[in-house]
Symmetry: C3
Subunit: 215 residues, 3 copies
Amino acid sequence: MALESILSFFIPKDKKFFVLFEKASKNLVDISRVFNELLNTGAPDRRVELIKTISDLEHVGDNITHEIFTELSTNFITPFDREDIHYLASSLDDIVDYIHGSAKRLQLYKIDEYTLEMQQLAEVIEKSAIEVHAAVSTLKGMQDVVRLKEALVRINSLENQADDIFDGAIAQLFINEKDAIKIIKVKEVLANMETATDKCEDVANVIETILIKNS
Amino acid sequence: MALESILSFFIPKDKKFFVLFEKASKNLVDISRVFNELLNTGAPDRRVELIKTISDLEHVGDNITHEIFTELSTNFITPFDREDIHYLASSLDDIVDYIHGSAKRLQLYKIDEYTLEMQQLAEVIEKSAIEVHAAVSTLKGMQDVVRLKEALVRINSLENQADDIFDGAIAQLFINEKDAIKIIKVKEVLANMETATDKCEDVANVIETILIKNS
Amino acid sequence: MALESILSFFIPKDKKFFVLFEKASKNLVDISRVFNELLNTGAPDRRVELIKTISDLEHVGDNITHEIFTELSTNFITPFDREDIHYLASSLDDIVDYIHGSAKRLQLYKIDEYTLEMQQLAEVIEKSAIEVHAAVSTLKGMQDVVRLKEALVRINSLENQADDIFDGAIAQLFINEKDAIKIIKVKEVLANMETATDKCEDVANVIETILIKNS
């Protein structure tokens, strides 16, 4: 941290945003990986620990978002439009919040058997997070617009996949599950996970806007 | 499409927004009419076809919204404040999304008997959509401020009607229905429909803002 | 009202916002006090009357919000950034809406026995509202930044308290309550109340932004 703040002294003011956005999207990759581990590969006895880690990473994300908003309030010069910076930071924060919200509900509702669709959605979320990080990382200097556009296309396609998984899961849930309380629980977890991918699409949309404005 | 793009060549850049907004609100009228047909007059055997049409019109709406955002990113000159254009486009898109969301849930939850209140809300939504289209169409050149203001008043009054229908429906639902799963399904459809009229009110509010700024 | 509009004639145009924001946050304190009374100290036979008062105060809040937006549309000079004024007004309005939404659901769902956690949340909401009003009142002229910052810290801490109460309440609800319909009702009231405190935090965040920009 000390070294980091010394280094940040040499970064031109408006470049700080790129550093912070990369930090935010890197943190998103981390939380989505732990979440995917929780649902897919993690041993059941690591459950409590993994949910705790997700909670911690959500706090890390909050702090980065706060840093971006502070930078935005103090800097006159920004690398792209202020409202786009605001929207990008909020959307990245939203994705993290919905992942955290999904994990928290698994805990609150004591769901310890995951449905196939929850597991599929956790994978889609991690894949989306990786593409979001790729897109955010290429924003700086717009070095590789082709790669950036590919990432945006993939985020949109992953969101469509998530939609289909969610719709199928909900239809099946109402056919197979007769316990209303279980329906409430499972439906809400699935909805939180699906919304996480919607928020990835919001990130893709604002990055597309930034791209158009700077082309 | 080819003819359209040739024609659009002759439209001054900042006039394009009016064309696009009219397209968006016209599409809203279309989707709300099909949705009202689904709930009120459509023969049961046309159900699948009507829901499919709603889904298609939602995609059409998405593309128009995307076009507006692209115009907004490339045009320096806009006929009214950028944030108002953004908010108007988003709100129009939201209405369409909530209509589509309602239809999708009818399908996912296999609800094929509609309650009276669902039918009433579908009517209110179509009426609101028609007023929204009237308001959006008079925005251009602010030709007929009296008519515009009347449309805004009617949108607000329709939203109040929708509120009352929704509140009554929910109160009755919890009194009459003892099946929790049915409550979950019906409540969510009603909530989506009621939110569609809230979003019509958002459109009315932003148009009022535009009106004040330009008077 | 007549006197008020004569007086407002003498208030410099950009000072009007402070007057309106104080009015909005004062109204928030009022509605939160009535809501807390409804849940904690009010005699059961005053229930209908108290819910009616909450509904009336929500309308009062709507009118103040509308006035702020009208001022914003007609004034070129604003005491702080337009988007911050917009966000502050919307967030104040949101808090009032969620309090009203909670009360309305108590009525619609015929919940007349309040859980301990509902009562605790109503208290937290009133405390938050008082801090929000304190923060908003010191915005004018930034007279007392220390007091302002203390209020912001307290709003954040109250939001954390509300989070913990909500999480505990939901976990307990799913353990103790076997009636799915009751779960739906109680969960939704609690969620509305918890969101009210989230919106208080939104107010704290935008005030912090205003503070940073003006320091």
